[in-house]
């Protein structure tokens, strides 16, 4: 099912949580809402589910306007960060709950419900645990049950709110791969919220980066990482370094010297240069480069991260070097970013 969010605004007691957000989610897509806390990602997810009502705007499921429908009628599968399983029911009863509460002809016979529950339990790789209670399961197992429960009602769209947020790193990575497999097998349109960029970039077909109640950028992992369209996305996704610069006649300057980067289309004036710390070329001798004195040097896993003081105002900037690179021993290092982007200062 295709989901369209059209000009949605949401206020909580006059405090705006979402400003005029629009988003098209394609049928069968696995899409991630990524952002820091308070960016409105969970609010957007809850609006799609119908757990909140938009102050303005509408949400369409296919051609239908879902914003007029109650939560019960929307037929969405929702998975919560803290599982929200029914403690007094067995795993099988939890999964069958959505079918059991249906009325009249829509309600399958008890045997069919049971068969379906066992089938889903098999899908989430928990066969044999149907008689357990949620308290007798580990966190990862509980979240699998929660997902099976959400899928039992054959939802139009599957919504997951930080589904792996409460689990430890090892289980997280494992479930991530597993969720991708399940998605590929079942083809549900799936939206999940996360603040973990690694999770979003690895798992999702497309990533929606949000900040302060607005969508900053929507795109594939490559789009988001390689061509961030705002300083926020640049600094939020992956490592980034930034330096205040000046643009004059299509050339980038730091303090009183050009650094060898051409920006023919950038307007003259103050700007901020963004680049990835690992995406730099070291150069010898400096005519047209960024040079700085080494202020600190740290070993981080397979690389060495060097902090440089640049320019007259001693701006600090970080670059990454191979561990055995001789430059790390020197007191002055010069480099030029390989890929970079200018944003207007502000």
């Amino acid at each position: 099912m295709e989901v369209r969010v059209v000009n949605v605004r949401k206020e909580f007691e006059r405090f705006p949580a979402l400003h005029d957000v629009s988003l098209d989610i394609r049928s069968g897509e696995l899409i991630a809402l990524l952002g820091p806390s308070g960016s409105g990602k969970t609010t957007l997810l809850r609006l799609i589910a119908g757990l909140e009502r938009p102050t303005k705007g509408a949400i369409f499921f296919g051609e239908e306007d879902a914003s007029q429908k109650s939560i019960q009628e929307r037929n969405v599968g929702f998975v919560f960060q803290h599982y929200a399983l029914f403690r007094h029911m067995t795993v099988a009863d939890n999964i069958g709950f959505g079918l059991k509460v249906r009325h009249g002809a829509a309600r399958p016979p008890a045997q069919e419900i049971r068969r379906r529950a066992l089938e889903l339990l098999d899908l989430v790789q928990l066969s044999g645990l149907e008689k357990r209670y949620p308290a007798q399961l580990s966190g990862g197992q509980r979240q699998r049950v929660a997902l099976a429960r959400a899928m039992a009602i054959e939802p139009k769209v599957l919504l997951l709110d930080e589904p792996f947020g409460a689990l430890d790193a090892q289980v997280r990575r494992e479930l991530r791969r597993w969720l991708r497999e399940i998605h590929d097998r079942t083809g549900h349109t799936t939206v999940f919220v996360t603040h973990d960029q690694e999770e979003a970039l690895e798992l999702a077909d497309r990533v929606v980066v949000m900040s302060q109640g607005r969508i900053e950028q929507v795109g594939t992992a490559d789009d988001i990482y390689d061509t961030p369209n705002s300083p926020f996305v640049y600094s939020f996704i992956g490592e980034s370094s930034s330096l205040p610069v000046k643009v004059e006649n299509g050339e980038v300057w730091i303090a009183d010297r050009p650094i060898g980067l051409q920006a023919p289309h950038a307007p003259s004036g103050e700007a901020v240069l963004h680049f990835r710390p690992h995406d730099v070329d070291l150069v010898d001798g400096c005519s047209g480069c960024i040079a700085g004195t080494v202020a600190a040097s740290r070993r981080v896993a397979g690389t060495r991260r060097v902090e440089l003081e640049v320019g007259g105002e001693r701006q600090r900037v970080e670059i990454e070097l191979p561990v055995d690179h001789p430059a790390a021993q020197k007191s002055r290092v010069a480099f030029r970013p390989r890929r970079w982007k200018l944003f207007p200062a502000g």
Partner: protein, 283 residues
């Protein structure tokens, strides 16, 4: 996941590294012995001195049996009534914000604090055939004061805070997300309450029930004013004990007391076992 020890049974759990296990356990046992065990064993001791045949004769005396039936019966009904309305009161206090909520919240505790005799006299005045409420009920043929119904009314009054105060904190901890999950799965409001919320509250409700029930069985002060105390009709067991004491018939008094003790203990034990069982399952 918890794994059961290979050979379960009675044994000490490994005490934690924080010291004080011996001291605190010793204190608890000594304290319980002093406050509860010694007085109660004195009771058993006295009734044991009675001899089995005498005890049996006293125990199966028709007046004793009716008094016990009335005591346990009215306490049971009152506790059941309190479970329904106490849970409702707790729900309103937890879920809704309205002016005067704190005052209502405080009012729930009044039956704890009020001398029970005062409550009994106030209720009798209200429900007597000439009283405010009694007058209204009279034409309907409902007599409250001086009947077992009056006892139930008094016990409902006394027992209410026990249910509200045990259910309220658990209700406050109910996870909003569980309700939301049920709603997204298509459950109506009514289904959410009956299938998700109430089963989750059941252990607390059972505790509230058992406390209100236990309190009702032992209640004396408020009941004797409203009950009318007619033997075989509205005479409660605690009153019968007092009557026997006033007749200097100590063996009879202790016998009734011992029976009450045995019955109460058995019922509370059953309730406790039910709870332990449910806690093990639901965690």
């Amino acid at each position: 996941m918890t794994t059961a020890p290979a050979h379960a049974g009675w044994r000490f759990r490994q005490p934690s590294v924080i010291p004080g296990f011996g001291l605190t356990l010793g204190f608890s046992l000594a304290y319980l012995t002093l406050i509860i065990l010694i007085p109660l064993s004195g009771l058993i001791w006295r009734s044991a001195a009675l001899g089995w045949t005498d005890f049996w004769a006293l125990a199966t005396d028709r007046r004793t049996l009716t008094a016990l039936k009335i005591s346990f019966g009215t306490a049971f009904i009152a506790a059941a009534v309190n479970v329904v309305f106490g849970t409702l009161v707790a729900w309103v206090l937890v879920r809704y914000r309205f002016p005067g909520r704190r005052i209502v919240d405080a009012m729930v505790d009044l039956p704890f604090a009020l001398p029970t005799a005062v409550a009994g006299i106030a209720l009798t005045t209200l429900y007597a055939p000439s009283g405010w409420l009694g007058k209204l009920l009279m034409p309907l043929g409902i007599k409250v004061a001086y009947t077992p119904l009056g006892i139930v009314v008094a016990l409902v009054f006394i027992g209410l805070p026990f249910v509200v105060r045990t259910v309220q904190p658990i209700m406050e901890e109910l996870d909003k997300e569980v309700e939301e999950a049920a709603a997204t799965l298509g459950a109506s409001r009514f289904q959410i309450i009956t299938r998700v919320l109430l089963p989750g509250l059941a252990p607390a409700i059972v505790t509230g029930f058992s406390l209100a029930f236990a309190r009702g069985v032992g209640e004396y002060g408020s009941v004797i004013f409203i009950a009318g105390n007619l033997p075989y009709k509205s005479e409660i067991a605690p009153l019968l004990i007092v009557i026997r004491l006033e007749e200097y018939n100590y063996p009879a008094a202790t016998a009734i007391a011992a029976i009450m003790l045995g019955l109460s203990f058995a019922m509370l034990l059953v309730i406790n076992l039910v709870q332990t069982w449910s806690r093990k399952r639901y965690g």
